[in-house]
Symmetry: C2
Subunit: 140 residues, 2 copies
DNA sequence: ATCGTTGTCAACCAGATGGTTGACAATGGG
DNA sequence: CCCATTGTCAACCATCTGGTTGACAACGAT
């Protein structure tokens, strides 16, 4: 229930219909009936989808006579972009670091370290708690 | 089942534990046991999470003695970024267009329009109350 | 005042999801 | 050869999800 915001956004966009709704709402606000028109499901179903999007902060609804136009709140997308980019970048850096280490090893092959043959001590270190023993690693 | 790739990726990242797994894997490959260590769930549960991530193409597993190191495949993140950015940009363009229209209206207040107080006729048009037919039953 | 249109709420159902425990496959160390 | 370690598979369970239908709330029109 009190699912964190990021989970809600990802979850909201994990459905093709909801992604399509978002896509269409980038073009213009629209009412539930209009939004439902192209799909082969009941208006109620679409209403539920809209609720999910609203709970995720992706859309807002205002009241306007009988209709309730839905409006896209695109800023929330930035939340995801931020997360994704952060870790994509981090993954890239890891590769860069790994290259560096490999290069260094090639130049100075002094593996005087414990025989534990940790091949990529910097970039590959997994977790601190585990009985790290050796990591019979392939040199990739 | 044959859920589309994008849905699988979004869905995979809609879980905090799985996002954390991804985050940690940006730092280094790791085995399931190592990955499971910080969480308060069984190894089997983590194994399931990893399967979800694998099905989404976010990680790969290789075999290495008894262990199965998990490796992050960060490219897949680009899939999401592409989707998000596309529609974020589209939403922005819509705002830009809207500004243009508003500016034009200010310069050339060609009124005559019914006083229907539709403040944003172009970009916001939720539709002219068209006699949209009801969603007659199933298009099997 | 009543009716038609629009949309939400409620109850219900089938299937997916996340967790559990127990069994067992795979592999290297003794 | 046997066993300990590592991880997956299988069955089971509770909950969430997306869909349905039916009722009804809100509002404008007549």
């Amino acid at each position: 229930m009190p699912t964190d915001p990021l989970s809600r956004v990802f979850s909201a966009l994990a459905d093709p219909t909801r992604r399509d709704l978002v896509a269409r709402l980038t073009l213009a606000d629209a009412t539930p009936t209009e939004l439902a028109e192209p799909y082969d499901v009941s208006l109620q179903a679409v209403s539920k989808h809209l609720r999910v999007l609203e709970d995720a902060g992706l859309v807002s609804r205002r009241r306007e006579a009988q209709r309730r136009p839905v409006h896209l709140e695109a800023q929330v997308l930035d939340l995801m972009t931020a997360w994704i980019e952060r870790y994509r970048r981090q993954a890239e850096e890891r590769f860069a670091r790994l290259d560096t280490v490999l290069a260094a090893m090639r130049e100075d092959p002094s593996p005087g370290h414990d025989s534990s043959a940790e091949p990529l001590p910097v970039a590959t270190r997994p977790a601190p708690a585990a009985p790290r023993r050796r990591r019979t690693g392939g040199t990739t």
